[in-house]
Symmetry: C2
Subunit: 205 residues, 2 copies
DNA sequence: CTTGATCCTGACCGTTTGGTCAATAATTCA
DNA sequence: TGAATTATTGACCAAACGGTCAGGATCAAG
């Protein structure tokens, strides 16, 4: 689904577009859209500014492409929840997966955080459309488990919000977290342990 | 502590500085620091750009002043936790207070969210200094309650992180929350109910 | 090697932006 | 009232920024 749509893509095109996406992710996630210049992206990608604009028509184009390319990967963990699995394991597994995302892909987390904060100018369709459907599907699964008495009753949608906010907090506000915890501690390990305990307690029937 | 330090402040100065602070809060919280122009602040305040720069020396100055002026108010709820009060009520009261802040002061929430996301260029001192002390004090109180068996054991610092992230999520990512919930629902009321239930369950010994 | 397509860049352009300043208006107060 | 202080603004500047373009370099294929 990723690259099959454009068979006529040179190795150079492939490589440079990848470089630009990575550079753009660096800069956008650190400075937001308005705080990012094409020059910074070019420098981070190791290319010249006009060369960047040879592959993408505008800064907006880069940003939009980056968001849409990363969205699937970003939402993947929720879609891997298995309705046939053990409820507690599935939920805790999802929490752990999201926590791993925050640790391993903080740039992506911040990129989306900026976008939503900004009012999601490039994601409005997805927010009201695809995302809601994905959430609804998960809500059904959770609701089913609760109806079966295999999970304590809670509002499934706010449960999802809580997982999103708490896991992404460790990536988006990492500086604050580290400042409060001090040195020599691993925010992600500790956070993972805390969340595991928290959701086990909350969701045990 | 707020205005007593500068007795020689005209009514006009007082009024215009307030207008600028409010306009700046509007624009900064919506667009972030780099996404904000002095012209936008001036327009939102109903003043001209040079007039804004008559009261503040630079855009940076406006931003810094705004952050420091709002910080106390932002951290107030945590300092109102009463070590002599009932543990569960105090914690749930704090959660409710933070939730009310998200509903009533979403601009402030987003302002700080942008700042932390950005790497807190204007708050580094406060993050490593004052904030940590305030948190430490609260951590002591919580730890005491847990040691006395009046609250279930958890990591107090990560408990605080969870409260911050979940309550502020409803302000910072309000667009996403509303998109997922759909119309006709009150995110803040529902969120408050969810959090109340969640923390009651988590913290009951 | 030749040719056509792809790739790359220095120089450039118009606009936006943070900030300045001299001049004018309004306010304060003796 | 009148002088001194404070408040306000249009015009302006230099730097930064998004984006363009003509022309040259590189590459793939016959």
């Amino acid at each position: 689904m990723t690259d099959a749509k454009m068979p006529r893509m040179t190795r150079i095109q492939q490589k440079n577009r990848d470089l630009i996406m990575d550079g753009a992710l660096n800069v956008f996630s650190a400075n937001g859209f308005r705080g990012t210049t094409i020059d910074q992206i070019a420098r981070s990608a190791g290319l010249s500014k006009p060369n960047v604009l040879y592959y993408f028509s505008s800064k907006d184009d880069i940003h939009k492409t980056l968001l849409t390319e990363l969205l699937d990967m970003w939402l993947a963990p929720m879609q891997q929840i298995d309705p046939a699995g053990d409820p507690m394991s599935e939920v805790l597994g999802y929490v752990a997966a999201k926590m791993r995302m925050s640790r391993d892909y903080p740039r992506e987390s911040r990129l989306f955080a900026y976008e939503i904060l900004q009012g999601a100018p490039h994601l409005t369709q997805i927010l009201g459309g695809g995302l809601r459907e994905i959430v609804d599907r998960t809500v059904m699964v959770l609701q089913g488990w609760m109806d079966d008495g295999r999970l304590a009753r809670t509002d499934p949608r706010h449960l999802i919000f809580s997982i999103w906010s708490m896991t992404q907090h460790y990536a988006d506000f990492e500086i604050q977290v580290r400042a409060v915890l001090g040195r020599g501690r691993d925010p992600f390990d500790e956070g993972q342990a805390f969340l595991d305990q928290m959701y086990r307690k909350l969701l045990t029937p």
